[in-house]
């Protein structure tokens, strides 16, 4: 017990960095996901081909290798960022690729009749998306977003390998210094669970909301 009191400030600091990483990378990933997901709907090869390549590269290679690549290889060609920035950027690009697919497929899932109605009311294309299509696509996206938020929390432990002292790395350092791996890793385990609680609660709510009263009662013919 004394020992836990001794190490808990370090673990708390680690937990704080983990949360900060999750929220920063998450917000950036959301921005990337929306931008890429929407841009991929533009019917031009000049736009869609590069974006498709980006999405496939980031989805189909190891996240760990992506992190190493950005942290160790880019500086060799003179591109150098702080570890935290690098970690956030890679997580954002990685999750952005997945989220862009969620955004794209949710938008494509909106009934074609909604486009027809919007065109028949003479709505220009941006207005059509902003007022009609995207508001209906968002409830479809939310459950997936919630899941990816949890995944993001877990994925932040990867950036411990580029010297960011988040929760996992602070734990590893404590073990090196004091020993007691059982107590320390158990504490880390519990802290991750606690950090996950808000996301779990959020997910429950999002899943309940998805669809809901917005679901059109369209007769089947």
């Amino acid at each position: 017990m004394d020992f836990l009191l001794q190490i808990y400030p370090a673990l708390l600091r680690g937990a704080f960095v983990t949360m900060l990483l999750t929220l920063t990378s998450g917000a950036a990933a959301l921005a990337v996901g929306f931008a890429v997901g929407l841009a991929r709907l533009i019917p031009s090869r000049w736009v869609s081909v590069p974006l498709t390549i980006y999405v496939e590269v980031f989805r189909n290679t190891s996240s760990l290798v992506q992190i190493f690549y950005f942290f160790f290889v880019l500086p060799l060609v003179g591109i150098r960022f702080e570890a935290f920035t690098t970690g956030c950027a890679v997580l954002a690009l990685n999750f952005g690729a997945y989220l862009s697919e969620v955004v794209r497929s949710s938008i494509l899932s909106v009934d074609k009749g909604q486009y027809h109605a919007a065109i028949a009311l003479n709505m220009p294309v941006l207005l059509r998306y902003r007022r009609i299509i995207i508001p209906q696509a968002i409830p479809v996206m939310l459950p997936a977003f919630g899941n990816y938020a949890l995944e993001m929390l877990k994925a932040t432990s990867l950036v411990s390998l580029i010297t960011i002292t988040e929760l996992t790395f602070s734990g590893a350092q404590l073990v090196q210094f004091y020993g007691h791996p059982t107590e320390i890793y158990l504490s880390i385990f519990v802290i991750y669970l606690i950090l996950a609680i808000p996301f779990i609660v959020l997910n429950r709510n999002l899943e309940k909301r998805a669809g809901g009263k917005w679901k059109a009662r369209v007769p089947t013919t």
């Binding site: 009311l121 709505m123 007022r131 009662r217």
Partner: protein, 271 residues
């Protein structure tokens, strides 16, 4: 196939030439539409006068919906020219620039078989949406307009309901109010009662009949309800395989059609 006689070196008279005030509401000139190898509209020409009510009937797959969709710019013709009040929506099988098309499209409204109300907005918001967002009408004005239109379709007290809380007949009446809010001069109705339970079909058709009496909009009505097609129209067009087979006065066409294919179709739907 008609043979055009063009005087050598002479002036080619456009057979549709007329002064601006008499320009037809809708004009299809030699319009074709193909989906892949399937020719859905086959070299079709059609004129609809201002304030004229036209019913379009024909077997399933004959291209009725496609004609409405071409006019609403939801499809582009493969060949031919479509004009609205003399302005070209598409020419030579190509769509035109949005800046040219939008003012013409503003004159057309459409009501769909599946209603296509915006499910995330109340009935009132559905009707207000386009006047506010597209016409930039001040919100209080748009609200007053939407309320009066909902009243007109008999849904005065349903403004706060979401589409999912309304019956099919009520949803379709909101959809009519929504289209009217843009003050179209041409209204397109595509089988607006086909998705409805029999007991609510009447309430929707009554609304269309009252619009026909109280407004001067041109109407192009696609329907499988032959009684409605006859009663609403100044002219009935029977089409098959993307072509007009016969057209004429509703009483005449329904009572004694000239064409045997029209006769066969009318006999088949009567049963």
């Amino acid at each position: 196939m008609g043979i055009a006689v063009i005087p050598k070196g002479g002036h080619v008279l456009d057979k549709f030439e007329s002064p601006a005030s008499e320009l037809p509401a809708v004009e299809f000139v030699d319009v074709s539409k193909s989906f892949g190898a399937l020719r859905v509209i086959d070299n079709l020409s059609l004129r609809i006068r201002r304030s004229e009510r036209v019913s379009l009937i024909g077997p399933s797959g004959s291209g009725k919906t496609t004609i409405l969709r071409l006019l609403m710019t939801l499809e582009k013709p493969s060949e031919g020219t479509i004009k609205v009040f003399g302005g070209a929506l598409s020419a030579g099988g190509r769509g035109l620039r949005e800046s040219e098309v939008a003012p013409l499209r503003a004159k057309i409204g459409m009501v769909f078989q599946q209603f296509n109300l915006f499910p995330h907005m109340t009935a009132l918001a559905n009707v207000m949406e386009a006047p506010v967002q597209v016409l930039r009408m001040p919100k209080p004005d748009a609200k007053a307009l939407a309320e009066s239109l909902l009243e007109r379709v008999g849904l005065k007290e349903k403004g706060a309901s979401y589409p999912s809380e309304l019956s099919g007949g009520q949803q379709q009446r909101v959809a009519i109010a929504r289209a009217l809010a843009m003050k179209p001069q041409i209204m397109l109705f595509d089988e607006i009662t086909s998705a409805l339970d029999p007991e609510v079909i009447g309430e929707v058709l009554d609304v269309v009949h009252s619009l026909a009496h109280e407004t001067k909009m041109a109407m192009l009505v696609v329907t499988h309800e032959m009684g409605f097609a006859r009663d609403i129209a100044d002219r009935v067009i029977f089409m098959e395989k993307g072509r007009i087979v016969e057209e004429g006065n509703p009483a005449k066409l329904f009572a004694s059609p000239d064409n045997i294919r029209t006769k066969a179709f009318l006999n088949a739907v009567k049963r």
